[in-house]
Symmetry: C2
Subunit: 271 residues, 2 copies
């Protein structure tokens, strides 16, 4: 099953444009009358029929030199809401890796598991201080299409670690975690979930996890995070790369917070 | 800290050869008298002093055209046993992915977390039926050096899914799990760990996990696995790629079986 993406949805009409339109017509060779699936990345997955394709590419018979499809107009037949949705809300704040491929890999994997937002955060110890937002957005988009999800993770603007902490300082309904290598009063992510009430209270537990750069967070960043209510977590004895630590965090929340996992019951404190 | 690898250890002498010797002398520019760290990949991490370097490369001053170091002779000063060791034994049996980069990535990440053996298994539905064993061994080696582990995962010969199942049919002390997409009597990995006794009985729980190819295991493979005592597990609602499913399994065992994680206590059935 092929999934297309658009934010141009108006009533019963969905419009594919740009690369999505070109992919639909030139690569997939879709014609008027074909049934295709379209998501808006906001939880809607539409079953559509192709209603109109610009004449220049009608039937998809175009040479590479010709103008590619501007738009593909689709009629929405059915809307499945919440496909690929989750029973938790996860924000990852991860320092970009020196080798950006590793960061992009993390985003692809995190999107397969399911995350809601990624903040590229810049630490006092960061080697890389910039990321290409559009590139990350394209990777997230391709990952939800591959994993048939109707929720597109939001790629946030790059911010400093201290600004990110300040932004989350007030959010009391979120379990805020920070992973770092320096010694500290740390517990496992599962233990932090167990001691918090979010798995029992909210129908959709909210979690935010901070993962530092190759050189770890600075002391002032660790202190600021804890002052803002971020709880220190350990990721175990192994020395994990940044992207591995980040995916470990995503995986722990995925398996701990997904509904229907007996692990949730198993994590309730014994009584 | 740089870690070198050799299996040539005799009493108080460790010999680096081939690329390890060349890397030590030509890249790291080590000289006689330098202190270096060497692992045998079997749980030993030696602090050594460089005792002799072939004259051709003494001092590391060689042009690329010259013969590279044949050997570097080291005197073992100290042996730290079990560095980067684990409190569990994990065998992963994973079908090679169509795009081998994704398989190699999985192996690198799995080695960072810590696994003991990887079986490339070929399914009735496998698209890729061969892997380069030497290449996988090189990736595992580079990963233990990067993550400072003294245990090198064993890359097994490629076998068919049915042969792998037959090999493990008799191993009663291992919790054997198979992840597949077809409907079945599945539970989460944590639930399988909870219902088994391995976390409470053995000091070093043994687990084996089978992960299928892009097209999933065949019905006869799933049946054979269950007849051999492999218990079906679910990896949740998300549609995970092969390598993502495999790393999810490694991460679950890592966080569930590592000693010192309160998650273990939390996973004991309530009483």
């Amino acid at each position: 099953m092929e999934l297309f993406f658009t934010t141009q949805v108006n009533g019963k009409v969905a419009i594919l444009s740009g690369e999505e339109a070109a992919h639909c017509v030139r690569v997939m060779r879709h014609k008027v009358g074909d049934t295709i699936f379209v998501t808006d990345g906001a939880g809607n997955l539409y079953r559509c029929t192709v209603r109109e394709i610009p004449s220049a590419v009608k039937g998809g018979k175009v040479s590479k030199k010709q103008k590619i499809a501007d738009i593909v107009e689709c009629e929405i037949l059915e809307n499945s809401v919440g496909v690929g949705g989750r029973s938790y809300h996860l924000t990852m704040a991860v320092c970009p890796t020196k080798n950006i491929d590793r960061y992009e890999w993390f985003l692809e994997k995190a999107t397969e598991f399911g995350i809601d937002a990624l903040y590229p955060i810049i630490s006092d110890h960061s080697i890389r201080t910039t990321v290409k937002k559009e590139r990350l957005e394209a990777i997230a988009l391709s990952a939800i299409k591959q994993s048939l999800k109707s929720y597109l993770p939001e790629i946030k603007e790059t911010v400093s670690v201290l600004d990110f902490i300040a932004e989350f300082a007030e959010s009391e309904d979120t379990l805020k975690l920070i992973a770092y290598c320096e010694p500290g009063d740390k517990k496992s992510i599962r233990a932090r979930l167990s001691e918090s009430k979010i798995l029992r209270e909210g129908s959709c537990p909210k979690v935010a996890i901070m993962i530092g750069p190759e050189g770890d967070f600075s002391d002032r960043e660790i202190e600021a995070a804890q002052n803002a209510g971020f709880k220190p977590v350990t990721l175990g004895e192994s020395r994990l790369r940044v992207e591995t630590a980040a995916i470990a965090g995503v995986s722990e929340i995925y398996f701990s917070c997904c509904q229907g996992f007996s692990s949730i019951a198993a994590m309730e404190p014994n009584q």
